[in-house]
Symmetry: C2
Subunit: 749 residues, 2 copies
């Protein structure tokens, strides 16, 4: 989004329930109440009710009635124009979802779609005192009666709000982005859409800016590009002879933008100024951009597949290259950080994105079940060097080959593309989530996906496009540490898996005790039971098996828990050890594998149990630290085959030194020990050779007999003498063997 020079004049909004009688025509019922913009009709309507806090207990159910209602926003204002010839515009970044806008009773706009911004010239109907109204239609249901995500399958509304296994049924509506009036001269800019390309040899940045506005003919357009030091690297000026023009220019030898783990994030500031014939500045817009070249290349070894005959195709390439460098993508799936996107502020993003960057994540998959984020998200990703895989709002549904739907999808997608394409952090476009699996039922022939491929090609052809995730070679799952219906654990199935990218996998855990106390009524808190607020907050019956609390599984590893803190600690421990293993195993499979993204990073409300590694709004779970360690650019890692070991067992594991840096790792020494409390047993000292850039080193298979320690846990320490930052520590489960128990019994008798 470009930032216009004229300030946004905010309005005072009120909200009421209405009956809808036809385009531009409705009757209020109920009272007018103050409305917060940006926000959601639900937040305004619930203010002061007993369900005002949607997070507590079953309060979320209090919001259900609003889905089927019409709401009217109203703002009154005096004509803000102070000079002759001025133009007054109403601008808004997004209104959720279907709406009509009237000024003094005149219908100005009827729109379906929350991502296409609104920009209306009000002049024709402006009087001294004005009433601006925004009518919000009921949430779309696509004609489906079952209250599930299928109701989102005929619209470009994020499907997650219709209920998911970690999101309550709560469908937001209303003005969710900044809105207000802008007063500009007759000649002014309405849009300045940028496109940035870096050529193959990385030495020329090609800029295109499509400018549209009003009364531009006869004016001059001045374009300026400053580098991150404030130095002007490009200046250009031209006469305009119509209300639309496309300017092109080049920046020679631009400083390259890199993901944070591979280099700097130099950003350039572009400014377009509209000058009158006599040189006065009438209007201007400016935004930041960056130069990087992104490709998806075939994963190493994947061209050799398939072998044998009859022969199919080779896998889809998923190795991200930035500026020609193959990068192992470590990251996570980003979901809505709030149930009500209107509540998201820049600060919401800052705290979460800092956590993501600090976990060494270089890629966020912005999952297609949620919203396309606000502009500040993308600005921060640019600044922090965090790459974005951006999905369009399609997920786990069969979106139709229907002309009406396709028209809305096109209009929304064009707005999304125009806004996000100049961000250097936007590295992958994707049609949406799991569309090629049976629960969605879409295929490569689906018109919505062919349309999105066409639009991305037309508007941003240098950025890769995937129709969905997973595509051939990639994989999603598993979402549990251990299957209830068998005895296999992720430690074994991840070692057998051979995929080019793991773009979703998860292990769940309960939230911290104080979070649980804040959302679950005291009398339901212990023991956790289905049918209580635990279930509404996804601890029971959320997905397969006893998700997401996984009480049965926790008992498999530890037996019954005596109290809530014990249960929480154990569940959180299992999440950490499981997720760490998957990230490390994906890295060990480099270069055939080139991407690891867990499901999921954050959550839109406080869940009782979930696969997230950051609780709402922004508190890391213990697994966060394990994941962060697994994602260090240079890290020691141990591969073991199971989690529970017995005293007297020969504990075995493979050692690896993982290096995703484009720097050599010097030769060094790793001291390996196991311990329980103060008892320490040395295992091995490994003198490893130097590692090439971006290359892993397989170390020895280590073996040690587990001493007659206490039942409980034991620690495996991999200590790097010269480079302690890459040391690692694992906690595994220890049980006394039957023989050991017998010996102890004999001793005690």
């Amino acid at each position: 989004m470009s930032h216009p020079s004229a300030p946004l004049q905010c309005l005072e909004w009120q909200l009421s329930l209405v009956h809808y009688d036809g385009p531009g025509c409705c009757r209020t019922f109920g009272e007018w109440r103050p409305a917060t913009v940006p926000g959601a009709v639900q937040l305004d309507m619930s203010r002061g009710t007993e369900y005002e806090n949607p997070f507590y207990g079953e309060n979320w159910q209090g919001y259900r009635w609003m889905e089927t209602e019409h709401f009217l926003y109203r703002a009154t204002f005096a004509d803000p124009r102070t000079e002759a010839g001025q133009v007054c515009r109403f601008v808004c970044g997004g209104i959720d979802y279907r709406f009509e806008i009237t000024l003094n009773g005149n219908l100005l706009l009827s729109q379906e779609g929350m991502f296409k911004p609104v920009d209306l010239v009000l002049n024709e109907y402006l009087v001294g005192e004005n009433t601006l109204e925004v009518l919000i239609f009921p949430s779309p249901t696509g004609g489906f009666t079952e209250p599930d995500r299928r109701q989102a399958s005929r619209s470009v509304k994020p499907a997650v709000s219709y209920s998911w296994d970690w999101h309550p049924r709560l469908v937001p509506a209303g003005i969710w982005e900044e809105a207000g009036l802008v007063v500009v001269p007759a000649g002014h800019l309405a849009r300045a859409d940028w496109q940035v390309k870096l050529n193959e040899s990385l030495d020329t940045g090609r800029l295109t800016c499509t400018v549209a506005g009003t009364a531009l003919a006869g004016c001059r357009l001045a374009v300026e590009v400053e580098d991150s030091m404030g130095e002007v690297v490009l200046e250009d000026e031209r006469f305009l002879d119509s209300d639309q023009t496309t300017w092109k220019g080049s920046v020679p030898r631009p400083a390259l933008w890199w993901p944070h783990d591979h280099g700097e994030q130099p950003l350039y500031t572009t400014t377009v100024r509209l000058l009158s014939a006599d040189g006065r500045e009438l209007d201007s817009q400016s935004r930041r951009i960056g130069f990087r070249r992104v490709e998806l290349l075939m994963n190493e070894g994947a061209w050799a597949e398939p072998s044998g005959t009859p022969k199919g195709r080779s896998p889809v390439p998923i190795t991200l290259t930035v500026n020609g460098r193959r990068i192992f993508a470590k990251g996570t799936n980003w979901v809505n950080p709030e149930i009500f996107p209107g509540r998201i502020t820049r600060d919401t993003y800052v705290r979460l994105l800092e956590l993501a960057r600090d976990a060494h994540f270089n890629l966020l998959r912005v999952w297609g079940g949620g919203i396309v984020n606000k502009e500040s998200f993308h600005e921060l990703c640019d600044e922090m060097g965090v790459m974005v895989w951006q999905e369009f709002p399609l997920a786990c549904n069969e979106y139709p080959d229907d002309d009406d739907y396709l028209a809305v999808l096109e209009s929304e997608a064009r707005a999304i593309l125009a806004r996000l394409r100049p961000h250097p952090s936007t590295v992958i476009w994707c049609g949406g989530n799991e569309l090629f699996n049976k629960w969605s039922g879409m295929t490569d022939q689906a018109k919505p996906l062919r349309l999105l491929n066409s639009l991305c090609y037309e508007m941003d052809q240098d950025t890769p496009f995937l129709m969905t995730s997973p595509v051939f070679g990639m994989a999603h799952g598993h979402y549990v540490l251990r299957e209830d219906w068998g005895d296999s654990e992720l430690f074994s199935w991840m070692q057998k898996a051979k995929n080019t990218a793991y773009t979703e996998y998860g292990v769940s855990s309960p939230a911290d005790v104080d979070i649980l106390e804040s959302i679950i009524p005291k009398d339901e808190l212990w023991p956790p039971e289905p049918g209580t607020s635990w279930e509404s907050h996804h601890a029971f019956g959320a997905w397969n098996g006893d998700t997401w609390l996984r009480k049965t599984m926790i008992e498999h590893y530890f037996g019954p828990s005596v109290d809530l803190p014990t249960l929480v600690e154990r569940g959180q421990y299992l999440q950490g050890v499981g997720l760490r293993f998957i990230y490390e195993e994906a890295r060990r499979q480099k270069p055939y594998c080139s991407m690891a993204l867990n499901w999921c990073f954050n959550e839109p409300w406080p869940t009782a149990a979930n696969s997230s590694i950051v609780s709402y709004p922004c508190r890391p779970k213990p697994a966060y630290a394990q994941v962060r360690d697994a994602c260090r650019p240079v890290a020691l890692a141990a591969r073991f085959d199971k989690l529970i070991w017995q005293t007297g067992d020969c504990f075995e594991f493979d050692l690896h030194l993982l290096n995703d840096r484009y720097e050599v790792v010097e030769a060094g020494t790793v001291v390996i020990e196991i311990s329980q409390g103060d008892a320490v047993v040395p295992v091995l000292t490994w003198e490893h050779l130097a590692l090439e850039a971006n290359t892993n080193l397989a170390g020895p298979r280590c073996r040690v007999v587990l001493p007659a320690w206490e039942t409980g846990r034991f620690t495996l320490t991999l200590r790097h003498r010269e480079n302690p930052n890459c040391s690692a520590e694992y906690t595994l489960i220890l049980r006394r063997s039957a023989q050991h128990e017998e010996g102890l019994r004999a001793l005690n008798q």
Copy 2:
């Protein structure tokens, strides 16, 4: 292509070699000679030389020098206009490959691309006596020096001419489609591009016609659609106010077009007439169209895949449905029927397409290594009910993300789409051949394929689009009956294969003896040896192993051959038995498998050995009859595990009754016997139940001990008593067992 009402006035062409000095500027050297149009510069230049017959011996090498030369076509003509205001246009369906056109020394057109038709208004430069010149540039090489198909990888020139394992290096050039002058009134139609859609409920045909011309404003446009009985089903007329207009209309309850094995081929004739204000007919164009709805649906059982975790995507759907009916697609890969496409006439197509239809083929994959066929091919496919999978001219190369290449590809693809989309027989668009395999190196991210997806979506979005073949789930290969490097045969690997579609597979055979005598000098004819004309005609060193003669393999089955007729008979027998098995096995795998297309149908010159089942120009090989029998809509089939059996063996095979018809097959009786000469042994009589429409029936596994017959071949007969048309007969190889031989020896002693 629409047919304009004004007659084409042919020109007398001459041809000469030239030096090129710059746009519109060249100097002849060598003599002027008569040129045949349509044709090829090679055919004109070779006339009267010792290499005039390109098929014989090594003559094809005589043409190599022409690739790097410039050629000039020249025609002189008197101004053909007889009335004031008339317009004289030069039209040509296609000129191969890069060319410039001048009239009286004025450069009118410079074009790269052989598929975009030429249509030039000559008036501005016309004088009493005129010289029209067409300069042909050297064949493109893309800057590659090795004389192989890579030289075609920077152009939209069919790659096959640059040499393939069944096509000599002979790169045609010149005017390959009809060319001539058209004299029309000032107001006339230049183009009438049709688009035909049939709605989902199959009861409304929607027509769109984009008309462009000159001096149309003030005229009227009359549109008429007649059904196949000559009855007018739609009439419309409108005033024109500009030189371009888009007309839309609907045909209610149109008669549906079907592939020949599923129904009729009703074709409608559309006519657009340009009328002057006073009602005179100025110009008209007419063409035939048909109404059908085509989709690619998920193959039955394929949504359940993959199972397990981590989980990838489900296969790409490849079950063709026509008018809502799932159709098992049986067919073949169609290649250029001539080295020089300028020599192809309607009659060339008629004979080959009749053979294809008579083999029960309902789908031709027009392989991307060759040309896009002339209009008569598509008209005949419409008439005969043969569906066309049309590839763009990309094959086995890495076509680049290069702006110049993409611009030519777009202009060619738009012309191809506009011409072919109204044909009901055009059922699949495809980017090209084997582009997602390592020998090509392209991926889903390749801009040429993303562009083609976009163009097909824009211009013909109701027809499925595949980026290439094979995509995920489909397969190509194998191309031999038995691998030299192991002892496995196609009978075993085809039974193990599980693919949704087999879109290429082949077994080669030598040509008939008289064809061999016509292309191989007498002294090289026997025995066939590498380094002779046998090799140039692809019998040796063509592809892997001793392709395509497969002498070693023939000896594996039969031992040495005493003469050419014996060798040919044996090779041709093996092709028939192998191909028949693959077609039948693919059909047995229905509904998971839904398509079977052998490599390949025809050939562009007389090969000594090839996978084709029809020798150049149009003579079926013995395998043709085997394939035809395998593709009968209702057919008995036997599945055996190997080809060579021994006396005393228990000969085993599974019986199937295959039904691709949407009709029930009544219960019946199958009598199964084996025989050698007059000796007949009954095996089983199978009383089978009735079969549902489009459903196969698995019969018994049959077993019979092979009698002490002669070494040689034996016959398996499956005779259907009530429906002899679905009976089947197989010939397999019989050898005397060691025991049998010993017994005979003992007897003879």
